[in-house]
């Protein structure tokens, strides 16, 4: 089975980084599906078919949100940025600029692990389970 979700050799990656990569890929796939259903719904003339597609797209909204929440829980820096951008009133790009202060201050929760490699490190992390 191809493993295109990995940018580096999977055998050299720790388990938590492999899981993180899989969830990132899942997030991408859910977003793609939402976009595909949007296109199909724009063209579909059969109301029953459109209702089914809408139901399916609603499922993808839920899957995308769950994937995102999982990733944000494991990446405090990402979460801290997201908290300053998502569900905030006002101009999105201005909120994005303001969110950059997080990179100077660090995430609020110092007990949660950082994204592997986001601390300027080589991102090696856990190697448990590796043979030899």
């Amino acid at each position: 089975m191809p493993t295109e979700q990995y940018h580096e050799p999977p055998g050299e990656l720790p388990e938590d980084v492999r899981t993180f990569a899989r969830m990132c890929t899942s997030l991408i796939e859910e977003a793609e599906a939402i976009g595909w259903y949007a296109q199909r719904l724009a063209l579909e003339q059969d109301s029953d078919a459109a209702a089914i597609m809408l139901d399916a797209q609603e499922e993808e909204f839920k899957h995308f949100s769950m994937d995102l929440e999982y990733l944000l829980r494991r990446a405090p820096l990402w979460r801290a940025v997201a908290q300053r951008v998502l569900f905030q009133p006002g101009d999105i790009t201005e909120n994005g600029d303001a969110a950059e202060e997080v990179f100077e201050e660090g995430p609020d929760d110092d007990e949660a692990p950082l994204i592997p490699g986001s601390d300027g490190s080589l991102g090696i992390g856990s190697l448990k389970g590796m043979q030899r």
């Binding site: 720790p14 692990p113 950082l114 601390d119 090696i124 856990s126 190697l127 448990k128 043979q131």
Partner: protein, 277 residues
């Protein structure tokens, strides 16, 4: 820019990529402890200590009737290993050279990995770290040059752990010398010793620079706790017209939650050294 000051190093993006790739290759091969113990983090450069959940008494009360205790913590240690790279070599990497001389980087990577392994397996008294073999209450089981007896010793170590209520799977960290001998040895009938030991352990055999002989330990989790602040990174120190001075750095603490979850298997030489201590 963070504390590693990488942005002011005279190194191209391609150069950093090559340095990091080579560093990862060296480190993943040598970081034996991380293949066997629980890893948590990284929690960042500003993370300074591990919470032990314990207190100690303070000498005197500041106000009568107030019982004084304070929290005990385990400070993180910061191993740092400098290394030097020629700017001419870095220039060649930028030109696309694939055979750059990165020996000093490779040696430094192996050295910081060795420090981590030694701290975890043998302890680091000055840093307040008790190693796995130091903490183990079990009688060490000596292994000899005659590796045909090795399965018996490993099976005995597993039996000691089971008798202590410590479940598997189990892993075996082996010094490079013993690891090489195990890989080269076949038993009667040509069966590889390596595979036989894996069957007994139901877990991996790990090449572990810094280990004396071997250590059998449980991999069930919760017994050996490595807490990482800054994961291993390359930082910039200074440069001149000829060379760039860089360094490897990390911060971590290590503690043994279940001392009974490991058995040391020293070689005869290691046992003699231990007796002299």
């Amino acid at each position: 820019m963070n504390h590693l000051l990488r942005d002011i190093a005279p190194i191209t993006d391609a150069g950093w990529q090559e340095l990091e790739d080579e560093a990862r290759r060296q480190l993943v091969a040598s970081l034996a402890a991380r293949k066997l113990v629980d890893f948590s983090g990284p929690r960042g450069w500003q993370h300074s200590a591990t919470n032990l959940g314990r207190t100690e008494t303070v000498g005197s009360a500041v106000v009568e009737g107030v019982a004084p205790v304070r929290r005990r913590v385990l400070p993180l240690v910061e191993p740092r290993v400098p290394f030097t790279l020629s700017r001419a070599e870095l220039d060649d990497i930028a030109r696309g050279a694939e055979d750059a001389d990165l020996d000093d980087l490779a040696q430094a990577a192996r050295r910081i990995a060795l420090a981590e392994n030694v701290a975890v397996f043998n302890g680091w008294d000055a840093a307040g770290i008790t190693g796995i073999t130091q903490a183990s209450p079990h009688q060490p089981i000596g292994i000899t040059d005659d590796l045909t007896t090795c399965p018996r010793h490993i099976a005995r170590a597993v039996e000691v752990l089971l008798s202590s209520g410590v479940g598997g799977p189990y892993g075996l960290a082996l010094s490079p010398e013993v690891y090489k001998s195990v890989v080269e040895t076949t038993e009667h009938g040509g069966y590889p010793l390596f595979d036989h030991l894996r069957k007994i352990l139901d877990g991996p055999l790990v090449w572990a620079p810094g280990v004396d002989g071997g250590v059998v330990l449980s991999l069930r989790g919760g017994d050996f706790l490595f807490e990482c602040g800054q994961d291993i990174a390359i930082g910039y120190d200074n440069h001149d017209a000829e060379n760039v001075e860089l360094y490897f750095v990390e911060s971590f603490s290590f503690r043994v939650a279940t001392p009974e979850a490991a058995v040391a298997l020293p070689t005869a030489a290691a046992k003699a050294t231990r007796r002299r201590r």
